[in-house]
Symmetry: D2
Subunit: 335 residues, 4 copies
């Protein structure tokens, strides 16, 4: 089902941008695990809006754990956390009921869910739904940390700019132009044991890709050398195995830590392409579904000129849930 992810560490995300609440239910947690709430808050805060480069919408975004937790520890029951939606301005969206925003899910939602769809704030397609993803991911990160696995993502480029200062100048410029801009995020998961992931459809690439495309605006993912591998020779791309301090490593990491879908013990490296935020202040062409005629659209409301910075922890969260799920599945089959 669309809002569920994972076989062993399995969670279901619910809520819409302007519903009473958003949240997540997680199955597959060990009993007795103490969630570090400060660490989780700090992680959630990285995706929260309100920063210089994001929408002014206020979000406390600290989850309320309504089930599965006793004295801060998991009790074996499914864990459910919710975040109430307070500061919502549905009227901002009223006028968009019949005119889909280019680049948004408005049109596809109209077709799929009909007039009953929740269009306010993007409904279930809102970037706000990445908050519950970060709850599940933040917890998976803590579980992985105990296993010696660390995951960290970073902005590699924004609108082609790779220099940090220029990146943020660019964001200010596009904001001034009533425009938006996309970017690249790269992510590294280090400390994984070799052997995680399954061949074919349960490989680490398959799992991470399935999770990462759950983040709105992601349009591409590549592992290791990725698309560059298409230009390489085998003699360049193959990573030689060598012994180092008694363990097997590879001299280079074009394989991105994954061979045959299975972790090699080298860091898992992947890169994600984020498209520009579709909501821009400039006048855009669209159609009025109520009369089936071309029209022009001016989007009001609050919008990030660039969601790349806020997407960084979301990418870490997506990697974490995919990797921890694979860890559990592998554990099950090891004698």
């Amino acid at each position: 089902m669309s809002n569920s992810f994972g076989n062993c560490f399995r969670f279901t995300i619910f809520g819409q941008s302007h519903a009473p609440a958003i949240g997540v239910t997680i199955e597959g947690l060990p009993s007795g695990f103490e969630i570090d709430m400060e660490k989780l808050s700090a992680f959630m805060a990285r995706r929260a809006p309100g920063g210089r480069y994001s929408t002014p919408r206020k979000e406390a975004d600290m989850p309320e754990f309504i089930a599965g937790l006793v004295n801060g520890k998991t009790c074996g029951a499914p864990l459910t956390a919710i975040i109430r939606n307070n500061d919502t301005r549905s009227k901002d969206y009223e006028y968009m009921r019949t005119v889909p925003r280019p680049g948004h899910a408005d049109y596809t939602a109209m077709v799929k869910y009909g007039p009953s769809r929740d269009y306010a704030g993007g409904g279930q397609f809102s970037g706000r739904l990445t908050a519950p993803l970060c709850i599940a991911g933040g917890i998976a990160l803590q579980l992985l940390e105990k296993l010696g696995v660390s995951i960290s993502a970073r902005i590699e480029a924004i609108g082609g700019e790779r220099d940090e200062v220029k990146m943020f100048e660019l964001i200010d410029r596009v904001r001034a132009e009533g425009d938006s801009v996309g970017g690249l995020i790269s992510c590294t998961a280090a400390g994984l044991p070799a052997g995680l992931g399954e061949p074919m459809f349960g490989g680490m690439e398959n799992r991470i890709a399935q999770a990462v495309f759950g983040i709105p605006a992601v349009k591409g993912v590549e592992f290791g050398a990725g698309f560059e591998a298409a230009n390489m020779r085998g003699s360049q791309c193959n990573d030689p195995f060598i012994m180092e301090k008694g363990s097997v490593i590879t001299e280079s990491n074009n394989h991105g830590g994954i061979l045959g879908g299975i972790s090699s013990g080298m860091p898992i490296e992947f890169r994600v392409a984020i498209k520009p935020t579709p909501s821009i202040a400039q006048t855009q062409r669209s159609v009025d579904m109520s009369c089936g005629e071309d029209t022009e659209l001016n989007i009001r409301g609050r919008h990030d000129p660039c969601i790349v910075p806020r997407a960084v922890p979301c990418v870490e969260a997506a990697a974490a849930v995919a990797i921890y799920d694979a860890y559990l599945e592998n554990k099950m089959l090891q004698v």
Copy 2:
């Protein structure tokens, strides 16, 4: 589980390169569907080896349908097709038992499955396992064709060469050098209705990516503008909606036919990066797992200098199973 794909159109692939057989079992087929065997053979033939640019290993590769088919029509029971493995030369692989091939799953398989793993011919990691994928995909393509959906993939580049003649010159050159080369495959699915796919983890991107990474050697996937979108402004990337002959289309297709994970009715466009075949004739460095020492490896046996041509139908198959599965899931929820 690793070898299974799909929620509604669900199949499980089994077999290893040198096992008695490989095959697939498919659940979720309608009863009374007549499989066009000639069309399926023609489709399978496109991935079969024996061509100028592929391994000389002979494969009839025509599946034997041992269950689920009565007089050429599906009967409502799961469909199982097998392909016997005949022309196998296990001894070619004997010497690789303890020395993993760089770029291959040999090492990760050793770690995950231990001494009992099937290393002959790459075992379950062999490209040969894409034959059952093409059985499932070939059938899904026929089911989709009845719905007006056509899927076609093509080689976009090999080793950076985009001119067809130069591509094949390059393949001959790398073969002569005992090397291999990767490439780019682009794929288009046209004729889909809008509304297929689910938000978050069940989106068309998630599903197609999960399927496509099931093809060995795929290291990246992008949809529509893909990685290029990271360099764009919203005003460039957003595809304006316009009315054409009474229906809503987009003027451009940077979104690759997918918005919010859901098909927009525009063609689904995606691109896949294929790494160079890891098996090359050149001497490579590796380690001998039996003594934990660095060593050199010379791979004998039969190998494609470039598997990109054979991967083209596999990409179509992966797209077909993902799209047909989404079609069934969507159908279920439409009143």
Copy 3:
């Protein structure tokens, strides 16, 4: 996973007896379905405590819909409903931390979840968790009603008494004795089309049994003639097919409306055995896990002498979710 049910109409129940809340998230609902809240309340009320024969614990038990609903209609997003736990008395359970109640899940929960388990009020094993089941079931009943399917369960016997008056006299008597009593519930689902359910593990019996055993205290389920069939001859048990008003029916219904796992169009008939409430006022023998010694246990707190009456709507709910899930799965495969 343990708290999830269904392939197409899929829901996950969360919460513990004394957690902040209990609830359910449902995927697989059509968009635009208007939930009849009065009907749902009336249905929930049938399982709510407070009646003459049940615990005095007060439960409003009316769910708050925090996601998936817009103006009372489903919007295509997962539906999440929660019920806050107010009137809880954890101290009642303090003393039971180390002494498992006979017939309860206390001991198995200790073993499985360790010291972190939530033992207050039975934690996730509390009968209270049938409230979210009744939310999912109540909605499924409304969806089925639109399809012409009606489901109704009734008390067939309590402690062997089949006369209603005597049943309730018996309940009063066992209450006075500080004891409890079990009973039989039979359920009929009428108006189903023939063809629902799949062979083998997806049959109507398999699905209904899997759902029904989700109700605490259920120890047996039988369909049609059920256990009596073990004493019959084929000539007695086989239900002759006859034509009636142009349609095929069976003269008798020993098959309970299910042949080969698939609905025959005749009413689905099944019977469920409910064990006596394990919490009784009488002194019972148990062990103190803290010292590993035999001990005696006197259970304080509020307890039903007989949960059979409250289990009736739960059985309807279990049947409804199983049948509606099978309906969706079948719809998917019909051309």
Copy 4:
């Protein structure tokens, strides 16, 4: 999907009575497990026909392992075993194309799968499909044996007769009358650790019931005191916990080794009701679907007067796959 079972130890059964083959694919096996083929053959032989009380149809029924096995050991890839169908007499069934056999799935299969269904020999509804179940179950039994778990089922009654001699006299008698008879099978799983199974829908009762109803002709299942519990008082039904040799056991086993869906460490005890074989030699009333008229049916071909003896190993197989699947799932979550 209907022909698949299990979350962790997951298998898919395929084939029809008169298809080229039947078989099973199993995922979730550890790598390096050596299957005891003699033990498996002996187990399969217990359900094979040819015995005094079963159809004369010859079945070697020894599976051919076409994938997943190298030198008799699992290699980590899915295990696929097939059994060729040889001695089949489709013409025996020709005449039944339009006249459904009472008590059989003929009618429901007609409705669900239409004219393309495989009706020969009962198609996918044939008892023959329990052979692949016994392959999966036989392997699960061997895996469980290594864990100290033993599962054994026995005939408790046939047509109400509990004396073994009388049981078989009865079978001879009903055979002479061209009739058939049902019976009761009880099963015990001993040596399980406490803690297997999950609350709600993943409980041991739910899992075993889902598997057991996959055996044709099963119409009821009960655990521990089962239906008798409906007549008991809590003071009788609750099993007192006592210490014995330093471990916790229960004095009686009315709970059938399962509390809250989780194994208690006491033997899991359940009982299954088997209806009489629907195929009998006596003339029966049915309808001719081709003209929609009442008619009479005389079944030719080979049929068991009582399938209870052959169902005994199938019940063990069903219990084994359910218990081993629960074992793996529990293992995954234990720290």
